[in-house]
């Protein structure tokens, strides 16, 4: 990793610009953050911002479980598929 982190505001501002390349990257199936980063040529920590923004607003959905290395895979939300719901409060 060891690279200068850009101001989060600057990275986040680019999220709308990154929708298309990220959706193209996962068009063939779910990918981990690292795999997406490699495909689109951007640092992993920046891809985290973009993927999580896209997940929040219904563009991407994660795999149900992480792989053995601890990474989830993210894929495009299908047209007939609802994005992930917020987790219920398990306490109640």
């Amino acid at each position: 990793m060891t690279q200068v982190l850009r101001d989060p505001r600057e990275v986040i501002r680019e999220e709308p610009l990154m929708h298309q390349p990220i959706l193209e990257a996962v068009a063939g199936g779910g990918l981990t953050i690292g795999e997406i980063a490699e495909k689109i040529g951007h640092p992993r920590h920046e891809v985290v911002y973009w993927v999580m923004g896209m997940r929040r607003y219904g563009h991407l959905i994660e795999s149900s479980e992480a792989d053995d290395d601890g990474y989830f895979r993210y894929r495009a939300v299908g047209t007939d598929e609802a994005p992930a719901d917020l987790e219920e409060c398990e306490y109640e």
């Binding site: 505001r9 986040i12 709308p16 929708h19």
Partner: protein
């Protein structure tokens, strides 16, 4: 008195104070700066030591607060100032910030945020993820209503005389919404392709990005959207058009003002007829601007937007009698004839063959009557854009030389700097500080121009230094053609009675109505020669006013230009970030060659990658881009871009300051690497990751989305630390760390959690047991300071620490994720509230409680009380207790006030 008590801040302290006071029967005004009540507690995962769900505790209190009959809550509002009156009460000035959403209509459905094209850091998720400029604060927000974050008009929009939302279409192109970008411009004018080429782009001059490596290529982005639309469209502009209203409008002139006015009125259901005296529409767009800058097929495509709506354009239809139009049944007439009269040089020989004015010259070329200038020498007199066009057109017609003779210096030249630079690049030669005194004619033909050299004297009314002749400096420039381009003015015929001495039609500058009520005028015929964007803005205004006039409405409400938010300053935009990454500016490619010989377009379009990269450099100055996507998406029609802040003065009997605290800025401890290493986060960020409404799908490290296995906590980050100016203990960092330790071990059973601490401060009911429980669950607690964190190539973090209880040695351990248990700092915003008699603060800038031991909650100002962490670090339990104390003080104060009044009465 409007309210018994003003409570400032709706965190747990503010809510608790409000509810208790309201339950006692007092009328409470609660002011909260965010769009929801709840403060910080609602954002937490759980609370210690019970591990109750924070939302489950906060939620009902939030609901009670907002729905209590004795509480008036003003969210998204701020207290501007508070003044104590002689009777011991207070006058508070409250700013209700514009939400740009009608909350009575908003259902909280979140369609606006899904449609929004601007992403910003989400402060409610501790900046771990993005939210949108249109947003609902958080899923459990009370009230659950959307707001639009608008911090002003973006400079690009503010600079556009046509009122075109440049930031909006840039933002749409950035989001890949190209057709929506076209439609946004089309909403203002049908001339989208034209503006994409021939506009001088005042938006780019004001672009904040220009202060970095260069402006966003706004004009070319517009051209990109237009070209893409015209390539794919079936000829229909696909806009909504109102039903025909049976009214007829005549527009005289088909330049940008007339075409735009026609567009706006046709969409409102008017039957519009454009009367054009030339044989083709477009005004100077077709008849003056050369095709290498603005191809005629682009003008045609733009005009086709109008005709698709049924606008009739009658060419070869000069109007000689406007009253006849009224008699023909037109309900209103808009005069938009531009500036058609070329200013004469008034020198001998001017009317000779071989001496022409620039407007006639360019029109002849545009209409296929170009003269053959092969090998000819051309002198263009003037220094404006028409002069540059005339010179460059001359070169394309074969001229051997094209000299531009201008009476001032290059610095004063009125031509756009790009035009003069390009003219020079194509071979035009500038003769500066010269003025013509005679067109020399021999055998009926022009052979030269006698010039007099000039020098600059005192500034004239325009601020430019006046040219003054140098006696005896005459000389002759030999030439075959003289083109005069020294100015142009309107032709007021047949409206002479409405014109001023310069031939401009006199109108009210806001309404554009002339002295004849049904006659309006727009564009250069009212203002003299300006540019396309001003003409478009004027055309829009005229259409709006005609519509208002015909519907017996006051001639106002032209919000597109008259009611924009104040333009945000470039400096405040740049101050939002600590640093900016360099981006290679996207510039248009212009093909310039010496002595060009054809009229093909010289500027290349942007590729899709260039357009998006260019749009991606936008800084979102105003935050909201005004792209209108939320307006279109909202099923409740709740978006109200015309809302404005509202200031109210209210009288209250007492004030409770419950403004809470700030969190320590962790980057002030550089040895811990926050802001430098992606996998170093704060305790608040971890609480968000653990909350049900978390920004990620589970607890992941932000560096690469990995589920962390080894997590370290570092306590006392920014508290009990004189090196950062805060010797105070924050009281709850140890406990929230232990809480998170337990929650992590529940959420990630395989994870190892280690806390590096100074002292474990678990002073509270069942706190020590809570700590023991965490140890029993497997959390490790290592006493000793962390001195440094180093990032490893895979993003792991090597933590160097002192292990006091393990022998005192210096140890290094590797972790996936490091959490900094940051302390708190005073919220110093409270200092500005009380003006000239400020609220007393303690030595650490928390609100002072002079008698904290016997009168907790009392401040230095009688009638002003403090609740919660505004007066110092407290956990939630203590905050609620403190709020209760403050409430008792308030009640005592108010009852004493009432009692005193009754006695006095």
């Amino acid at each position: 008195m409007d309210y018994d008590v003003l409570v400032i801040g709706s965190g747990i302290g503010g809510m608790e104070s409000s509810i208790k006071l309201a339950d006692m029967g007092y009328r409470v005004l609660l002011v909260e700066k965010e769009a929801s009540v709840g403060g910080r507690m609602i954002l937490l995962s759980k609370v210690f030591p019970t591990l109750d769900c924070a939302s489950c505790i906060s939620g009902p209190k939030m609901s009670s607060t907002v729905n209590h009959p004795n509480i008036t809550s003003k969210t998204f509002s701020e207290v501007e100032s508070i003044r104590r009156t002689e009777d011991g009460r207070f006058v508070a000035t409250i700013r209700e910030k514009a939400k740009f959403v009608d909350w009575a209509a908003c259902t909280g459905c979140d369609m606006c945020q899904k449609a929004c094209t601007v992403a910003v850091p989400d402060q409610f998720n501790a900046n771990l993820a993005a939210r949108r400029a249109a947003y609902i604060a958080f899923p459990q927000a009370v009230p659950k209503k959307a707001v639009l974050q608008r911090e002003g008009t973006s400079p690009c929009i503010g600079a556009c005389p046509a009122g075109i939302k440049a930031h909006g279409y840039v933002s749409l192109v950035r989001s890949g919404k190209y057709e929506e970008a076209f439609q946004l411009v089309l909403d203002a004018t049908p001339l989208v392709g034209t503006l994409g080429r021939a506009c001088y782009a005042p938006c780019e001059s004001e672009c904040t990005r220009a202060k970095l490596e260069g402006p966003v290529p706004i004009r070319l982005i517009k051209r990109f959207a237009a070209d893409r639309h015209y390539e794919s469209a079936d000829g229909s502009p696909a806009v909504e058009v109102a039903e025909a209203n049976g009214r007829k409008i005549a527009i005289i002139g088909s330049g940008p003002a007339g075409l735009t006015a026609a567009w706006q009125l046709a969409r409102k259901g008017y039957a519009v007829t454009i009367l054009e005296k030339r044989d083709q529409p477009g005004g100077y767009l077709r008849h003056a601007i050369p095709a290498y800058r603005l191809p005629h097929d682009v003008v045609d495509a733009d005009i086709a937007n109008l005709t698709a709506l049924g606008v009739e354009i009658r060419c070869n239809a000069p109007v000689t009698d406007p009253e006849a139009l009224k008699a023909e049944g037109y309900d209103a007439v808009i005069l938009a004839t531009g500036t058609q009269v070329a200013t004469r040089m008034d020198v001998p020989g001017e009317d000779a063959s071989g001496s022409v004015n620039g407007l006639d010259f360019l029109a002849a070329v545009a209409n296929g009557q170009a003269p053959d200038l092969s090998g000819k020498r051309v002198v263009v007199v003037g220094g404006g854009n028409v002069a540059m066009d005339a010179a460059r057109v001359s070169l394309r017609l074969g001229a051997a030389e094209a000299k531009v003779a201008y009476r001032r210096t290059r610095a004063e030249m009125p031509a756009h700097h790009v035009e003069s630079k390009d003219a020079e690049a194509e071979g035009a030669v500038f003769e500066l500080l010269v003025a013509p005194t005679e067109v020399i004619v021999a055998d009926g033909k022009v052979t030269g121009v006698r010039m007099q050299k000039m020098q600059l004297g005192a500034p004239d009314a325009s601020g430019r230094r006046s040219p003054e002749p140098i006696p005896g400096s005459d000389y002759v420039i030999d030439c075959d053609l003289v083109i005069s381009t020294i100015g142009m003015s309107p032709d007021p015929t047949p409206f002479a009675t409405l014109a001023d001495r310069r031939g401009r039609i006199s109108v009210d500058s806001k309404t554009l109505q002339t002295a004849v009520p049904y006659l309006f005028a727009a564009g250069d015929v009212t203002a003299g020669a300006t540019d396309i964007t001003r003409a478009i803005g004027s055309g829009r205004r005229a259409a709006h006013m005609v519509d208002r006039w015909l519907n017996d409405q006051p001639l106002d409400g032209f919000t597109a230009l008259d009611d924009r938010l104040e333009t945000i300053s470039q400096d405040s935009v740049l101050a939002r970030q600590t640093a900016f990454g360099h981006r290679h500016p996207v510039n248009g490619e212009v093909s310039l060659q010496k002595f060009p010989r054809d009229f093909s377009e010289i500027e290349a379009p942007l590729t899709i990658d260039q357009a998006r990269a260019g749009a991606g450099s936008c800084l979102d100055c105003g935050v909201c881009s005004e792209c209108q996507q939320c307006v279109q998406a909202c099923p409740a029609f709740a978006i109200k871009m015309d809302q404005r802040d509202k200031l109210t003065e209210l009288h209250v009997g007492a004030v409770v300051v419950a403004t809470g605290h700030k969190l320590f800025a962790a980057d002030l401890k550089p040895e811990y690497g926050f802001g430098k290493f992606a996998n170093v986060i704060t305790g608040m960020q971890m609480d968000r990751l653990l909350a049900p409404t978390r920004p990620f799908n589970t607890v992941l490290r932000p560096g690469d989305g990995k589920v962390p296995d080894r997590i370290a906590y570092i306590s006392c980050t920014g508290s009990r630390d004189k090196t950062v100016g805060n010797p105070l203990c924050s009281k709850f960092c140890c406990m929230y760390s232990i809480k998170q330790n337990q929650l992590i071990m529940g959420a990630l059973p395989l994870a190892d959690v280690t806390m590096h601490y100074m002292d474990m401060r678990a002073a509270g009911k069942r706190y020590e047991e809570f700590y023991t429980q965490a140890r029993d669950m497997g959390a490790q607690y290592i006493k000793g300071r962390v001195s440094r964190i180093v990032e490893e190539p895979n993003g792991d973090l090597l933590v160097r620490y002192e292990d006091i209880e393990g022998g005192g040695g210096i140890v290094e351990a590797s972790y996936d994720l490091v959490v900094l248990a940051v302390g708190i700092q005073p919220n110093r915003e409270v200092e500005r509230l009380f003006g000239e008699t400020p609220l007393g603060l303690d030595e650490y800038y928390y609100v002072a409680e002079p008698s904290a031991e016997i009168s907790p909650g009392q401040t230095t100002i009688p009638g002003v009380f403090v609740a919660g962490t505004a007066s110092g670090a407290k956990d939630i339990v203590d905050t609620i207790l403190h709020a209760g104390a403050a409430v008792a003080q308030v009640a005592a104060h108010l009852e004493h006030q009432h009692f005193t009044e009754e006695v006095m009465a």
